[in-house]
């Protein structure tokens, strides 16, 4: 199953939308896709929003990738917010007890409007 990524630069930050299953087969593509998205951004951004509404499945390889992204954002001072987690993805965060490590919002609107 393929994983697709689209990006949109908004006033509040860079929005990355993932579509598909994030497992061992597809999670390895995410860092490269993100690097490309960052390089193509036409303006600097202080926040990265990852919209997971199109992700119906994620396993620990997806979580590992998100943790790596969180660590990278920490180094660059970029705020990372996840939004619109499906029940399946929420289950994985719950099992991994990472709900409090990431900033998670029900929708992209709430993620982008919430202050620092």
């Amino acid at each position: 199953m393929k994983l697709d990524m689209t990006t949109e630069l908004m006033a509040s930050g860079l929005v990355v939308r993932l579509q598909g299953d994030v497992d061992m087969n597809t999670s390895r593509d995410i860092p490269c896709l993100l690097d490309k998205a960052f390089a193509q951004a036409t303006a600097p951004f202080k926040a990265l929003f990852i919209d997971l509404s199109g992700v119906r499945y994620m396993d620990s390889s997806g979580i590992a990738t998100l943790v790596e992204i969180l660590q990278q954002c920490g180094k660059t001072g970029t705020r990372l917010r996840l939004c619109a987690l499906s029940p399946s993805v929420r289950d994985v965060f719950e099992l991994a007890r990472l709900g409090s490590v990431f900033q998670i919002y029900p929708t992209l609107d709430e993620a982008s409007q919430h202050g620092d």
Binding site: A64, V67, D91, L95, A96, R97
Partner: protein, 146 residues
């Protein structure tokens, strides 16, 4: 009546979605709730990923055989590989207070299943047996309740 189903897939990550797709409807039919079915699928996906990574070291020319035994009071899943045998002393879930990528698969497996057994006594490979009590078998519990 206990029924058995075996699915054999190549040891390439692209087939993980095939395993997930085969499991989900069967688990719901067996009386697991949607949430339970999702976490069982996750745990089995993680176990198969571990076989690809560690038993086969990413060799996609091998196979993973998944056998399900269902219809009774428990769901039993057997995953058989013919790869490198693990050091059983090193298979322990890691501490979750360490925020780092990796190492969560074993934790998910042991969190979801009631019994997890690794049998490395065979001539080659490992037989991983995962057992979960079905919802109707839990005292005071109705089927489909989370």
């Amino acid at each position: 009546m206990i029924q058995t189903m075996t699915l054999v897939v190549p040891s390439h990550p692209r087939y993980l979605c095939v395993i997930r797709s085969a499991l989900q409807p069967l688990l719901l039919d067996e009386g697991f709730s949607e949430k339970e079915a999702r976490t069982i699928v996750l745990a089995i996906d993680e176990a198969c990923s571990n076989i690809i990574k560690y038993a086969y070291e990413q060799d996609s020319s091998k196979t993973i055989a998944m056998t399900l035994h269902f219809g009774g009071e428990t769901l039993t899943v057997e995953l058989k590989d013919t790869g490198k045998k693990p050091d059983l002393a090193k298979i322990t879930p890691r501490k979750l207070d360490e925020i780092r990528p990796g190492g969560l698969g074993t934790h998910f497996i042991s969190s979801v299943f009631d019994t997890v057994t690794y049998d490395t006594s065979g001539a080659e490979g490992t037989l991983l047996t995962l057992i979960k009590l079905k919802p109707a078998a839990e005292p005071g519990r109705l089927p489909h309740e989370t």
